[in-house]
Amino acid sequence: MLIQTRELTKRYEVGGEEIYALKDVDLEIDRNEYMAITGPSGSGKTTLMNLLGCLDSPTRGTYLLNAQEVSRLGEDRLAEIRNREIGFVFQTFNLLPRATALHNVELPLVYSGVGAEERRERALQALRGVEMEDRATHRPNELSGGQRQRVAIARALINNPSLILADEPTGNLDSKTGEEILRLFERLHSGGQTIIVVTHEKGIAERAHRVVSIHDGRIASDVRQKA
């Protein structure tokens, strides 16, 4: 098992009032699952993604990632885990605008202390994996949306993470390019990669093999679909 949460809860205080963004979520995710988390805006799916992505810590409950309890770790330890275990893919790509595709892909390796030469080699390899090797020296503004997202996916994969966490990965793409990205996910999945896609689009969610919908901070349904 890759992920196991118990009573995962996130509570905010807004104007003296307590609001539960997430309440008592028990979730188990195996390796090599291709899962979608879906739900309307304000449902808590983003909160769940932030917690699963180790960007945030829960108010209560436990989160085992790779058999490691991460819910009580400090900021720097979480940064290490994000660096090693999680590859993020964002709706707006979130590439550094002034850096080349190659440098963007290298970035996680910079923070794991990999030397320059090895970084470059591995980044080129990752770019090759998403068929972007020939654009290595291009900056994000010289790339199309689909190309940017593929660079972002290469960056997510660079450190061989346990988990790819994609937040509306096709939200800023036209349907044809979005389809290409989804196929790329499927290819990665069949290569053994665990992928979680957070989306509010039904069509995207249905491509996954398991769909968890969140409603009012709780799991409303958890459906496994045929591959």
């Binding site: 945030d56 994000r82 660096n83 993020f88 979130n94 996680p108 923070y111």
Partner: protein, 406 residues
């Protein structure tokens, strides 16, 4: 993350905002330019004062009526009332001291020098006894110096300074000709070696004549200077004691009474100059620190702007695994690099200013590695100190909020 990585990120970020970076460090540039220029001028002056203005050899001192430098009217009045130093004093010293190697005599005043229709005003006429000790490197280049006999007999003979020779004779050989000093004729024996100028005043606009001839023409009411040289430092100290005793006896001073004459060495000049230069340096440092603080605050402000502008970037970096210290270092290095670049520009500008000063004024200015190191050290610290707050703010950003920032 290694330092080189951080530096590269910082330089790229600074380069992306060239104009802003430049304007930000303007304060630093101005501060460093002025500190480098001030240090250069002061240091240049220091060595200049030691070599040229003081102009006395290491083992040389001068018996005078008063010190070289008088700092108050009261002191000046008091010194004016003192007994003058006379040639008889010099002769007595010559007779009685044992530690001295060379003992000269020197007196001077400005007069008009004429050769036929050509004349020069305000030429320094130097009455000299032998050996000539002031100026220290006095040498006759063409012809010869007057002899002891000529000094003893008060002959009207002269050695011209190079400038006087050039102006009166324009290339012709002056040796053997006669010049008029205030309408008294002197036979030219030789021309002195070029001395150059000190603080823009030519040292070659002189005529040296025997001190006996000088007193014959101008009278002996002027107090003379008696330069003396010892073989080494201890000989100089012994000589000073001897001279002091001779003079106290000649002036009938009682024990406990103050000396009414001065024994001056080049140290008295250089130490006075050092006091002045320390004061100048202190005042300049005050002004420079003030502008560096202002410069530092500007840097801090711009770094805060930069942190805000790059909130998203910070979020991305954090999501990808950057720890607090990575972000802290990134921005700290950036502010240090910014400040130091300003410092480097300041050093270059200061160097330019230094060359300009040297070219346009008689002030000697020389750039020292010490002032460069000091300047760069200062701007490094400014960048560090004023970068801490913005860098810390960047490091503490919440990754989720930072990522959401547009």
């Amino acid at each position: 993350m290694p330092f080189s990585e951080g530096l590269l990120i910082a330089l790229k970020a600074l380069w992306a905002n060239k104009l802003r970076s430049f304007l930000t460090v303007l304060g630093n540039i101005i501060a460093i330019t002025s500190i480098v220029a001030v240090i250069s001028v002061i240091q240049g002056m220091n060595s200049y004062v030691e070599e040229k203005v003081a102009g006395l050899g290491a083992n040389l001192f001068v018996l005078r009526k008063g010190p070289f430098i008088i700092t108050s009217h009261e002191a000046a009045d008091q010194i004016r009332k003192r007994r003058r130093i006379t040639l008889e004093d010099q002769e007595e010293i010559r007779r009685s001291v044992v530690s001295g190697r060379f003992i000269g005599a020197h007196v001077s005043s400005p007069h008009k020098v004429r050769f036929h229709e050509r004349y020069i005003d305000q030429v320094e006429i130097q009455g000299q006894a032998l050996p000539v000790l002031i100026p220290a490197d006095f040498e006759v280049e063409r012809g010869r110096l007057f002899s002891t006999t000529e000094v003893a007999r008060a002959r009207n003979v002269a050695v011209l300074g190079l400038e006087v020779a050039d102006k009166l004779f324009t290339g012709a050989d002056p040796v053997g000709k006669e010049v008029k000093i205030d309408e008294t004729g002197y036979t030219i024996l030789g021309v002195a070696k070029e001395q150059g100028s000190v603080l823009g005043v030519s040292q070659d606009k002189i005529v040296a004549i025997p001190i006996s001839a000088y007193q014959k023409q101008f009278g002996d009411l002027d107090s003379i200077d008696v330069p003396m040289e010892g073989a080494d430092e201890s000989a100089v100290a012994a000589l000073k004691d001897e001279v002091r005793m001779v003079m106290r006896v000649r002036h009938h001073l009682k024990p406990g009474q103050e000396d009414d004459f001065a024994l001056e060495s080049s140290e008295s000049l250089t130490s006075f100059w050092k006091q002045i230069s320390a004061a100048i340096f202190g005042a300049a440092s005050g002004l420079v620190s003030l502008s560096l603080v202002v410069g530092g605050i500007v840097i801090m402000n711009i770094m805060l702007v930069s942190v805000t502008e790059r909130t998203k970037e910070i979020g991305i970096r954090k999501a990808l695994g950057a720890k607090r210290r990575h972000i802290l270092w990134q921005f700290l290095i950036e502010s240090i690099a910014l400040s130091t670049l300003g410092g480097i520009l300041g050093v270059l500008a200061g160097y330019g200013l230094c060359l300009l000063i040297r070219a346009l004024t008689p002030l000697p200015a020389s750039m020292s590695p010490y002032s460069i190191a000091l300047a760069l050290g200062i701007v490094f610290v400014v960048g560090l100190v004023f970068g801490i707050y913005p860098a810390n703010r960047a490091a503490r950003l919440d990754p989720i909020e930072a990522l959401r920032y547009e």
